[in-house]
């Protein structure tokens, strides 16, 4: 998936007729098979797949899809749409700007994966294939058809270097994608709005999945659909749109974030939402330290803990050792951020003068000290500050300007529960963090961070005070974590030492946070948020994974560093840094109207 020097490839349109697919079929038949198969897959979702409602989602009703069948339906419709677009039907041309086959292959694969996963899950959970109704068999066969059609499509580069290369060519993104037609600002904004609404819908669906099987199917469909959109070049186009309408997109993003609790009827899902936001905000703070300044902080969760404990101590809880003190929220938020800032400077000042490796180990040590210290400060084996392992319980709910966060409120016909209230507060805090992050990253100091990250010696030679800018990054990251910690203390009612450790099976802990930043993409805004959402939802939805999630993390970190160190959402500069191959592969500067779009996955 890397962009290396390639000779300018000939335009993929129109495909020369001499090419052949992996499966020998005439191209016209293959295309027809794809279209018919896609429609058949979507239609098979309306049949009964099994006889009992024991399998979650109730797949027993003829004529109305349930649970996983909706996902099969979606994948079938997507396949059919891409197949129609490949016929060049008017009005669908925008789906396939490069007229390439990869999106067809990928959507067909997505439909196949989700359908066969469902069929196999039914057979495995209910004990044998006898539990499949004829509808289930039909769905399995129908989802196979587009796959056959897809691999029968003529493909360049087939058969030249073996099957593996041929399979790779089927899902490769074309080298050049025709530039979009110039559109007016209103159309662009309409597109962004539509995408935001769809995105909110997709995201909400993922959070609201009620059982593990549905979430796995959801991940299958979303992954393959996004991959298909990427290979079709639509993601690149969309990121260009975003680049052209940056502030509008940001506003839409926050509007979508605010809209989320209004789509929820169950406060449990708002609870998941608020936890994702806390986790994401902290990950974004860590991203300043790791992604921008290149400092590995392994005890970051301790700063969250400092903020949470500070807020708990001044919250007026009867378990607080300085009981009787009840600061308003703005004061306790500032106090939490300030306390974290002080600790950040205390830890950073001696270590940031040295090579970065020392910082990693000292922050790891600090994280442990924090956990041990709050565990010990129970008045028995240490000073009486934190109540030791029992923590500080009964933290009162916030009350801002007469708005009590603990009670449900009716706003415009929608009921917002306790967690939805905190969710909205967290959106506000995240907006602050995103603002701080983007403003800092684009400022003089942000550029110094990146310079330090890439070559400290050269940066120092250019007159950057390495120690000072690193200390600012470290302290700023710590303060943002402290700020998020103050809210998390109120959301969870109590603070206890256990979540603030280096590695554990539930977030937040330092290893989870680091994994979220690395997985999502270091140095980007969207990356850590996506990483945090994924890493929070995976163990939450897949209960059977909880025990093995840390193992999976460890292995994922190793594999990521080996194969895609820039993460899911790649920062351009970061990507080049990780795939250094010399001066030749520096991409051409592209503007919006440039012919070949060489941008990879946006800014």
């Amino acid at each position: 998936m890397t962009e290396t020097t390639k000779p300018p490839a000939p335009d993929a349109v129109p495909t020369p007729p001499a090419l052949r697919g992996l499966i020998p079929l005439p191209a016209a038949a293959a295309r027809a098979l794809l279209l018919a198969g896609g429609i058949a897959t979507a239609a098979s979702a309306f049949l009964a797949w099994t006889w009992t409602a024991e399998f979650p989602g109730d797949l027993t009703i003829n004529g109305y899809p349930g649970g996983l069948q909706w996902l099969t339906f979606t994948a079938g419709v997507l396949t059919a749409l891409f197949a129609l677009a490949s016929y060049g039907i008017r009005g669908l041309g925008w789906l396939l700007p490069a007229r390439n086959n990869a999106p067809l292959v990928l959507t067909a694969l997505g439909g196949f994966a989700v359908t066969w996963f469902t069929v196999i899950a039914i057979s495995a959970e209910l004990g044998g294939v006898v539990n499949l109704e004829p509808g289930g068999w039909i769905a399995a066969i129908a989802s196979l058809l587009p796959l056959l059609g897809a691999f029968a499509l003529p493909q360049e580069k087939t058969g030249t270097d073996g099957t593996k290369a041929a399979l790779k060519a089927y899902i490769a993104k074309p080298d050049r994608i025709p530039a979009p037609q110039a559109t007016s600002g209103w159309v662009q904004r309409a597109v962004i709005t539509a995408v935001t609404i769809i995105g909110l819908g997709v995201f909400t669906y993922g959070i609201d999945t009620e059982y593990g099987e549905l979430f796995v199917g959801y991940l299958f469909v979303v992954t393959f659909a996004m991959w298909a959109l990427h290979t079709a070049g639509l993601l690149d186009r969309f990121s260009q749109l975003i680049a052209a309408n940056r502030s509008f997109t940001l506003a839409m993003g926050f509007a979508a974030a605010i809209a989320f609790p209004f789509t929820q009827t169950d406060d449990h899902y708002a609870n998941i939402g608020v936890n994702i936001l806390i986790f994401g905000t902290v990950a974004l703070g860590l991203n300043i330290v790791v992604g921008l300044a290149g400092l590995l902080d392994l005890g970051y969760v301790a700063f969250l803990g400092v903020g949470a404990y500070t807020a708990a101590l001044v919250s007026g809880s009867e378990f607080s050792t300085i009981s009787g003190v009840h600061l308003p929220f703005w004061a306790s938020a500032l106090a939490g951020a300030a306390a974290s800032l002080v600790f950040g400077v205390l830890i950073g000042a001696p270590t940031l003068r040295l090579r970065g490796d020392y910082l990693a180990i000292v922050t790891l040590g600090f994280g442990e000290i924090f956990r041990i210290a709050v565990n010990n400060m129970d008045g028995d084996s240490g000073p009486d500050v934190t109540n030791g392992p029992n923590g500080i319980a009964n933290i009162p709910d916030l009350n801002l300007l007469g708005f009590n966060f603990g009670q449900a409120h009716d706003i415009g016909g929608f009921t917002l529960g306790r967690f939805a209230n905190y969710y909205l507060l967290m959106v506000l805090i995240m907006a602050i963090v995103v603002l701080v992050y983007t403003r800092a990253a684009d400022s003089r100091i942000g550029r110094s961070w990146i310079a330090i990250r890439e070559d400290e010696t050269a940066a120092t030679a250019m007159g950057i005070n390495g120690f000072r800018v690193k200390l600012v990054a470290f302290a700023l990251g710590a303060a943002l974590a402290g700020l998020a910690g103050t809210v998390s203390a109120h959301v969870t009612y109590s603070v206890v030492p256990t979540p603030y450790q280096f590695a554990g099976s539930t977030p937040p802990n330092s290893a989870f946070l680091l994994a979220a930043v690395v997985l999502g993409g270091m140095g980007t805004v969207a990356g850590p948020l996506l990483g945090a959402a994924l890493l929070y939802l995976l163990p939450e939805k897949l209960v059977f994974l909880q025990d093995k999630s840390l193992l999976a993390f460890g292995i994922a970190l190793i594999l990521l560093m080996r194969f895609r160190p820039e993460g899911i959402i790649a920062n351009r500069r970061r990507q080049l840094e990780f795939h250094e191959t010399g001066q030749l592969d520096v991409p051409k500067q592209t503007t919006l109207t440039d012919e070949p779009a060489v941008t990879k996955a946006g800014a």
Binding site: I347, G356, G365, S381, G382, G554
Partner: protein, 309 residues
């Protein structure tokens, strides 16, 4: 009764264990400038390798005199295999990548090794009993166990052997050359990849020795034992001057004694009466690390490049 000699002996013993583990950090760092965070977990797997030999391979009732060398062998094989495998498959592909990449890989490796042991080794999610050598001897006012004698003998022997190896053998000198300048060493015909593998293997062996000593001394092992021990062994390596093998041992001993004395006597200092005892020992160890980084970042023995290996 004066407890000081006993506390000093305890500190020396603990410190020798830190020193043995620290050798692994310092040798690898000296050659490839990489902090192998997973080294603590290599120590842990060494302990479980030895445990496997004792419980699952040797027949019941084997005398400890025969069992201990075999356990050492089993632990060493496991630890060396994992150390060398980590180098080959996780670190080597990242040589030349930005500094952050191998560090993150090391974190991932450390998590993965812990979780593999916790999930797949029978009974490893709790502390597992390890055969102890608990016969005690009184020397003056100091009481030590057989396990302590094993530890001190092993530490002295291993250090002497390593010093000889690095100074006298051809490979040892090639190691020093690689540590000083890998590129030039390669031009002189030294296979630096082989040297790096040997450095990882020696580190793994020393960690396994420390792991067997740990098991014999404390009587149980668990999947998390490598985390704190590794962290403190790294502290010891920094304390002594990272990259310097004598420094690693010295740093280990200094750290061990400082930690023991702090947890034994700090509560006698007015105003700190609640900060003594074992529960605060780790805190003092890390405070020492921060103080060292503040005042003597090159460590006690500095960076004597000629001895670095």
């Amino acid at each position: 009764m004066n407890t000081l000699p006993q506390q000093l002996a305890n500190g020396l013993l603990l410190g020798s264990m830190y020193g043995l583990i620290a050798i692994g950090y310092t040798m690898v760092y000296g050659i490839v400038q990489l902090i192998n965070f997973a080294h603590g977990e290599i120590f842990m797997t060494g302990a479980f390798g030895a445990l496997t030999v004792y419980f699952y391979i040797l027949p019941d009732g084997t005398s400890m005199a025969l069992a201990v060398p075999l356990m050492l062998l089993g632990g060493a094989i496991v630890a060396i295999l994992i150390a060398v495998g980590a180098e080959r498959f996780a670190y080597r592909p990242l040589r030349g990548a930005p500094r952050l990449a191998p560090l993150i890989t090391a974190i991932g490796l450390s998590l993965a090794l812990q979780e593999v042991v916790r999930n797949f080794y029978p009974g490893a999610d709790r502390a597992r009993a390890f055969p102890g050598l608990d016969t005690t001897h009184d020397i003056g006012s100091v009481t030590i166990k057989d396990a302590d004698i094993f530890l001190i003998l092993a530490a002295v022997l291993c250090m002497a052997a390593l010093a000889l190896f690095v100074r006298r053998s051809r490979t040892g000198r090639a190691m020093q050359a690689t540590a000083q300048d890998p590129d030039t060493a390669q031009l002189m015909g030294i296979d630096t990849n082989r040297i790096i593998v040997i450095a990882f293997a020696i580190g793994g062996f020393f960690a396994a020795v420390a792991a067997v000593a740990y098991g014999l001394k404390y009587g149980n092992v668990d999947y998390r034992m490598g985390f704190l021990m590794g962290l403190k062994a790294f502290t010891a390596a920094v304390l002594g001057g990272i990259g310097n093998i004598y420094g690693a041992m010295l740093g280990g001993v200094v750290l061990g004694i400082a930690e023991t004395l702090a947890s034994a006597y700090i509560d006698e200092i007015p105003g700190m009466s609640q900060l003594g005892g074992q529960s605060w020992a780790n805190v003092w160890a890390f405070c020492l690390l921060i103080l060292v980084l503040l005042f003597r970042p090159q460590g006690l023995l500095g960076e004597r490049v000629a001895d670095r290996a």
